[in-house]
Symmetry: D3
Subunit: 187 residues, 6 copies
């Protein structure tokens, strides 16, 4: 599994959540996790969470740290478990860097009842994908929100959060692959 | 998915990690998570982690809080991801109840470089299973270890850790099943 | 698995056979079986059975009792077996309520060589789905057909057929899930 | 998928429910359904239904019409759905030949609240298998039971039931395989 | 699995690589391998190999022997292994008929460093598919290429190559299905 | 995927075809292909090919070049396709090194109607495995056989065949994994 942190600003508008996005844009073939920073504006027509569409809940943030993950298997449930583990890992990284105590509810992180993240996992015809966005600022968000800047991280530390999650996720992925290969079956 | 906390002491010796253990012993049919407290003594012949067998590393603890999970599908990799998420959830519960700051490395929890847990995931002919044991005391352990008692939890709080993880795991499992059903596919 | 009988008339035109139809229209998230009554008119462009498209066989009925089922797994063969079991269950329900002796050939029911039902199973990007329509009247059908009214059921009894199949299918689905969890493997 | 009716009497004692039984004993390689007639005596140690083991419910019949099915895939849930469809098909065949009106509850057939059949589906290391036994006589059974002889079928008709189910099951299996290949996916 | 050699010329333009192509055009329902001869012109918008799209490598040949294969399962990796085996089999057939010694690199065949074939495997919503094209002439190709005519095969022999691969692939497919059913599991 | 050539002589007696053999004996964790040279004597009780057991065909050779492969997934059919591709690759390597023209029939290689290889693929509780043995000498074999020595290879060249197949198999495996990740789906 490959990782890439992109320094340039990219606006997440939902179209990044499509198969081979990392390959088509950055030449990264195979399973990957990519991070970048930028605004988040997903139109209803691009949203994949039907719950959000039904409740007409736009996804919007002026500045986020984004993660795009692609796994080339077709088990959405497995990728949702991976997504939850990603969020738990992200929580630990942010707490370690900022000292802020966060709460995880499913695929969301909160700080003092204010929302820090958005996340979705879905299927493409050839893979499963995850998008996670972490607010840099919670201002102008459609719900009570908070951002990494507001809990005290500077731009360099925010990039560190991104790079740390990339390497932790890849490391854990490789460990899981290996753990698969060290146990005998039981009755 | 069903949960059960057993008040009586049970010695974990590896034979609990076999298919339908909860059904055969407690009448719980279907996917389940069960918790109990008791010593842990796994003979080499019962060990499923070949790494431990090769390094001749016995698994031993005088007192542990145990969890036994059974999922009736056959994807071991998926159950290893579930196991990591279980450990991440356990970490949050212990920190919340004790204030102790723990570190997760894969499927292990540590407090100040002392090992708090053991865990394994494996396949049966009909299901996948997880065992996780949390030291109540780290005394007499074969490696530098610590226990829930030593980080300040009394017996009632230890049972609370068990009950909290049961309900959190079941709740998250149900949420994951539902999250599977709310996203449209993308290109 | 959830069930819903809709009292209002809905025309089945093929667009109901798309992922999350029950969720998007009736707020039912997860696996579901939904029943309603209404005409059936499927244009060639909406038809999913290529055999029918090749033979230019339109699907048309002035009045039908419909069933829409969605399972969130991607094994079409398994859902075709479920479809056959659904039809066998429907046959028993109609016979019990009407006394009419029906014959099942694959996914079709017949009464005295006249066709009573249409049915198809297919894949969406995130799920598998089944549509089954039972003629209320066989008049104006493109093939020799018969309907529930013509074998003696009144509107209330027809609705009863719908409600009975909903509850039988859900009950059997839950039993199958549990039966999965009660057998040991053999050599 | 291959079918075989064996004229000689075989006692079903549970050991027939093991992988490649048809291949090892009758040279039938591949997916198969085999039928024969004979007593049924399954010791607790051979029983695969843990529910029966827990309730200490022996499986016994002095004379049964047996069916052994093997599918070389590992999805037990799918084979349980196949088992239910098999029982529904068996019901229709018996009713057609005897006129007796039977009820199906899951994987069991009843005539006037007396049990006509036993059935189980399970996993081997390489396949999934089904055993279904139909009482020829319900005498001496451990529960209120009835047999094909008691609902009026003579030995030749009983063999006909066996041969009919063999050919119906194989035919339906082939149709299901083909139905898999005639539908386009939908959104 | 069914085979068909089509005598008439067909231009391969990528649209043949879509689900049920053999069924919709030639009435062949189920898994199939079809062969025909004709030019090859795939526009960038029809290309499925993103590597070729990224490198702007058109696929073009004035005359090819084509193979289109469809398997109704959704495991792309398995179908890529099948594709490699197909190419290895094709290599043996061409060598046997022409005496030319070819080299296989992955899914490509070469004769003295000149490319003889193109091939791709992909997913449809209901199946996996393979296209393989063998140059009849390497003239006008975008890379150094060679064709069956240039290594000495006449039109009849070229058709023989097609027919031989059809029957070899179908035979091997059936053998593989049977080999699945003749081994016991091991520890 | 890892490769290992073992210089010491090992007798293949069937017990090498068990899960984690490479890990337990050589510390190689994960998917692997291992080669070594030695006699081959498989007792009937260790044989996994039921066809051979039924025909009472012992597997015996005084000297063979062996390959043991383990993949940690449970799709036996996929591993049988991999086995055929392995044999096709082996054929090319031997021909290149010896000039001998071989024929492949399924999972067997022949030289002038004399058998050069044996091979089997099977399931363990946690993986699928392949054994392939290539005769060094065909003397004393139970069927008309030939060996690598008899077609002119010296001990060093025989080891080269082993090492070449190791690296070719691993290379192709990695290419297949990557090929999985470069195609868009089609309709």
């Amino acid at each position: 599994m490959k990782e890439l942190f992109i320094k340039e600003t990219i606006t997440y508008d939902g179209r990044q959540l499509s198969s081979h996005w990392a390959y088509r844009n950055f030449g990264i073939q195979g399973e990957s996790i990519v991070s970048f920073r930028g605004p988040c504006r997903v139109e209803l027509t691009e949203m994949v969470d039907i719950k959000d569409v039904l409740s007409n809940s736009p996804i919007f943030s002026t500045d986020m740290l984004h993660f795009i993950i692609e796994h080339f298997d077709l088990d959405l449930e497995k990728t949702i478990v991976r997504q939850r583990l990603l969020i738990a890992t992200l929580k630990d990284i942010i707490t370690e860097k900022s000292g802020a105590v966060l709460s995880r509810y499913g695929d969301d992180l909160f700080f003092q009842n204010r929302k820090l993240t958005v996340s979705i996992a879905t299927l493409t015809p050839v893979s499963t994908m995850i998008h996670t966005g972490v607010n840099v600022t919670g201002k102008d968000a459609p719900v009570p929100a908070i951002g990494l800047a507001e809990i005290g991280l500077d731009p360099e530390e925010i990039e560190d959060v991104g790079r740390s999650l990339l390497s932790e996720y890849v490391k854990e992925y490789e460990q899981i692959k290996m753990a698969r290969c060290k146990v005998r079956g039981v009755r």
